[in-house]
């Protein structure tokens, strides 16, 4: 058996240059992000989903009634990243968090930064900070910060 230090090792990158077709509902959601607006979809029972959902998970009806939500919201849960790695978009300590935007009944997974771990708890108020350039992607919301 060869010693493990004699084994060949090499970095390896696998990349898929996908283009994702957004469909009629999600297109509106992403287009609005480009205008620094966060939309959700509203069901006949009055529930609002943001990020927009194409179908109501309870009633199974298709959704296309768009309403504006946020940009403030509250933390539903979070996971603190003390030492971000290369693939993280934020290089300083930050949290991945589920954020329930004002006016929405579901929560959005995003990042919270510019704060300490001790500043965050379930229910903490946060607000969206926008990217300098918009690409009509979820990263148009750069991250969330503590509400002043």
């Amino acid at each position: 058996m060869s010693d493990s230090k004699d084994l060949l090792r090499a970095p390896f990158e696998l990349a898929y240059n996908y283009k994702r077709s957004n469909g009629p509902v999600m297109s509106k959601f992403f287009e609005a992000l480009g205008e620094q607006k966060i939309l959700g979809t509203k069901s006949s029972t009055g529930k609002v989903f943001s990020p927009a959902a194409e179908f109501d998970p309870d009633t199974h009806e298709s959704l296309n009634d768009m309403v504006e939500v946020g940009p403030g919201g509250s933390v539903e849960s979070f996971s603190w990243i003390e030492a971000p790695q290369n693939h993280h978009l934020i290089k300083e300590p930050f949290a991945f968090a589920l954020i329930k935007l004002d006016g929405a009944d579901s929560s959005m997974l995003h990042m919270i930064t510019d704060c300490n771990e001790a500043d965050l708890s379930i229910g903490t108020r946060v607000t969206a900070a926008w990217s300098e350039t918009t690409t009509k992607r979820i990263t148009d919301i750069k991250f969330f910060t503590l509400e002043k």
Binding site: M1, Y18, F30, K136
Partner: protein
């Protein structure tokens, strides 16, 4: 409407996965030979099947393939596909041929490129040989072989490629 006014119905959604690949013992032995321009398969001590590239064990018998079997860089086309559609990020210009290459003395085939071939004339059983890059460019990679090209030898009868239980 200019293209800039046309709303996109898609978004760019690239995915990048960065690995650190450890070859393992069998592939390390194989690639160390490839770097020297040699193709060395590995044989099963039980059923005598020869695997190239080797993965370290025989899937038929479940034992380690610890017999080194030097092979030539000649073989035949076991199956092939003519690719007409360009694949984003692939520098090879269509039409080109991808083929499963069965080297002489091996019991499995591997995927490689066929060039210097008349596409109309390509067929299963056709004799081919590796075209190597200049020696200075050899690394631990089967890309040391630029492609395989037809040679002037009679076709192989595909029936002879079937594995004979010994």
């Amino acid at each position: 409407m200019s293209t800039e006014d046309t709303p996109k119905d898609y978004s760019e959604s690239p995915i990048n996965l960065e690995y650190f690949y450890t070859a393992g013992s069998a592939t390390t032995r194989f690639l160390n030979q490839v770097k020297e321009g040699n193709i060395v398969g590995q044989g099963c001590p039980k059923c005598k099947a020869v695997y190239v590239p080797p993965r370290g064990s025989c899937p038929r018998c479940g034992v380690a393939t610890d017999i080194e079997v030097p092979l030539t860089d000649k073989g035949c086309i076991e199956s092939f596909t003519v690719v007409h559609i360009p694949i984003p990020g692939n520098p090879i210009v269509p039409p080109y041929v991808c083929a499963m290459i069965r080297l002489d003395g091996a019991n499995i085939s591997f995927l490689h490129l066929i060039q210097d071939v008349d596409i109309e004339n390509i067929r299963i059983g056709m004799r081919i040989q590796a075209v190597w890059k200049p020696k200075e460019e050899w690394t631990h990679s089967l890309e040391n072989i630029k492609w395989f090209a037809p040679i002037d030898e009679p076709d192989i009868d595909v029936a002879t490629l079937r594995f004979q239980e010994s």
